[in-house]
């Protein structure tokens, strides 16, 4: 069913043609590609997660639950938990930091809005390696903060800020902040100003207007932003490895390790399948929340 807003061919009386064999032939490469490089690998990952490995680390296909049983060992569960906590903290801080900025951008005059949005886009598009390296050069032992503190004799020894949970969360926040600002901005831009003015006219103070009118009306943006930050942040491992130095591993780091150094692909696959399930749950919960926020 085409939505009424969409100018679909059907709405204008031009029927989408029924697919002829030629159309099928043209679509075939795309379908084959998806089947071969998305669907099949996912199935293989699931199959691998039930298999064993031989002494050389090769996968021996079989069926047992051993890998999953191992996943529920406290060691791995706590790593799962840590990853979720880092991602939650990062999402929370991104909302806190990003909301006022997104709000300001959304209410700026059109010319300023364009400029400010472009300014958000630049870090959004800059390589995450460059952005992470930027913070490493600020925080590391011989980095900017420590050279300032040492040369001004505030501290006798350098602070160790890298390789801590603080550094991990900071790295995540810095990398995902634009992903939070952009969707919130979109819903602030749509916000009907007369509703906010009505709240003031009816005697609400700025705090009340904010919590009772502005926040509920921009909730779709917050939910979308949370989806864009929280979900990828759980699985992110490159930033967490660089900022955490492997001392506080996340689930992504463990999976990567199992596939490379530890050569235990079936166990890595089982962790990967659990991560995938976690993802599906997040999408389901946050996606439903998003839909319920849009009654129309």
């Amino acid at each position: 069913m085409p939505e009424p807003t969409r100018q679909s061919p059907t709405a204008l009386g031009l029927d989408p043609r029924r697919a002829s064999w030629k159309a099928w032939l043209l679509l075939a490469p795309l379908l084959v590609w998806l089947a071969l490089f998305v669907l099949l690998p996912t199935i293989l990952l699931i199959v691998t997660s039930f298999s064993n490995r031989d002494e050389l680390g090769r996968v021996v296909y079989s069926f047992n639950w051993d890998n999953y049983r191992r996943c529920f060992d406290p060691t791995w569960l706590s790593i799962f938990w840590d990853s979720i906590v880092y991602a939650l903290l990062a999402t929370f801080i991104c909302v806190l930091v990003g909301y006022p900025a997104a709000y300001t951008i959304g209410r700026a005059s059109p010319a300023n809005r364009r400029l400010l949005l472009t300014l958000v886009m630049v870090p959004f598009w800059t390589s995450f390696l460059i952005r992470t390296y930027a913070w490493i050069s600020v925080l590391s032992q011989e980095g900017l903060v420590n050279s300032l503190l040492l040369s001004s004799h505030i501290l006798p020894t350098p602070l160790s800020m890298m390789y801590t949970p603080f550094a991990i969360v900071l790295g995540l926040v810095y990398n995902y902040l634009p992903f939070m600002i952009l969707p919130i901005y979109t819903s602030v831009e749509k916000l009907d100003n007369s509703l906010v003015e009505a709240a003031y006219d009816l005697g609400a103070g700025p705090l009340r207007a904010f919590s009772r009118v502005i926040i509920p009306l921009t909730r779709p943006g917050i939910t979308a932003g949370a989806l864009l930050v929280f979900v990828p942040a759980i699985a992110m491992y490159a930033i967490t490895t660089l900022m955490g130095g492997g001392s506080n591993p996340t689930i992504g780091e463990v999976i990567q390790n199992q596939f490379t150094r530890a050569r235990n692909q079936p166990f890595g696959a089982a962790l990967g399948v659990l991560l995938m399930l976690l993802f599906l749950v997040c999408f389901f919960v946050l996606g439903r929340k998003k839909n319920s926020a849009h009654p129309v």
Partner: protein, 279 residues
């Protein structure tokens, strides 16, 4: 949109609601957020011109690190790999994405919804899972890890982005454009190549740009499916970042930031409607 044009540029930050305090708070908060976003990047660029090999004490201006960077064989070769892989996968992804978007827009297929949903999967799938699952596939079918496997992976995660952008452009298209072409005697393929395709050019360009930058930037998927010879620039950079601070990395980052700014500027220009367009 209308109220924003009416109120115009009366204030720098248009916050008609609430007292001055709110406006002041929002303005300074935003300034701080931008400082947070830009200060580390700015420092990288600044210190890429610093003579000091280590530490953050300014010892004078130099282009030494840029010179060293342009003579760094390992990085240059990795950059060559990145360009080669990026170009080929962008071409394939743009082709797949454009064709797919057009077919799904113009024709009704059985299980249409399912197909459209499935195209999203590589976009939202965590990169690490895509990396490991492709690795399992390549190992099972004994496909050697190298340029070929990396290009396959890059096409897989870039083409949905091209397709989605194309769908947005097609939805804004006046369907009578094609109808008129057909009424005036064009065959369906003529109508596609002479009418539809020119209309899609801006979306093709921005889709290709997006695919290329995604490919150029990718570390997580590539690290699983690459061989020793086909290592891309992000892989080498990651290795360097792990070791520690390095002024050559500052120079490389500065170049990356300038390139990104340029690309963002270009893509913002592409988004502006071209004059003479009806929609």
């Amino acid at each position: 949109m209308t109220d924003s044009t009416l109120l115009g540029r009366a204030h720098f930050f248009r916050l008609p609601d609430g007292p001055k305090l709110v406006r002041w708070f929002c303005g300074s908060w935003t300034a701080l957020v931008f400082a947070f976003l830009y200060l580390p990047i700015f420092l990288l660029v600044l210190f890429s011109f610093n003579q000091s090999k280590s530490g953050f004490v300014w010892e004078g201006f130099t282009l030494e690190w840029y010179d060293a960077l342009f003579h760094n064989r390992v990085l240059l070769q990795a950059f060559g790999n990145s360009l080669l892989i990026g170009t080929i996968s962008t071409a394939c992804a743009t082709f797949l994405g454009t064709l797919g978007a057009w077919l799904l827009y113009r024709y009704r297929f059985p299980a249409h919804r399912l197909m459209e949903t499935f195209i999203f999967v590589p976009m939202i799938m965590p990169e690490i899972l895509m990396g490991v699952s492709l690795l399992v596939l390549f190992v099972l079918f004994s496909l050697p890890l190298g340029y070929f496997s990396v290009i396959i992976a890059h096409i897989t995660f870039t083409f949905p982005f091209v397709l989605i952008g194309m769908q947005a452009r097609l939805e804004g298209m006046d369907p009578s454009l094609e109808e008129a072409a057909l009424d005036l005697g064009a065959t369906p393929s003529q109508a596609f190549f002479k009418v539809i395709l020119p209309y899609l050019v801006p979306a093709i360009a921005s889709g290709a740009l997006l695919a290329f930058s995604l490919s150029l930037d990718d570390y997580i998927v590539t690290v699983f499916v690459t061989g020793a010879a086909s290592q891309t620039l992000p892989l080498k950079v990651y290795g360097m970042v792990r070791v520690g601070l390095n002024p050559q990395l500052n120079a490389l980052s500065a170049l990356g930031i300038v390139l990104t700014m340029f690309l963002v500027f270009v893509s913002e220009r592409l988004k502006q409607p071209t004059p003479g367009e009806t929609l």
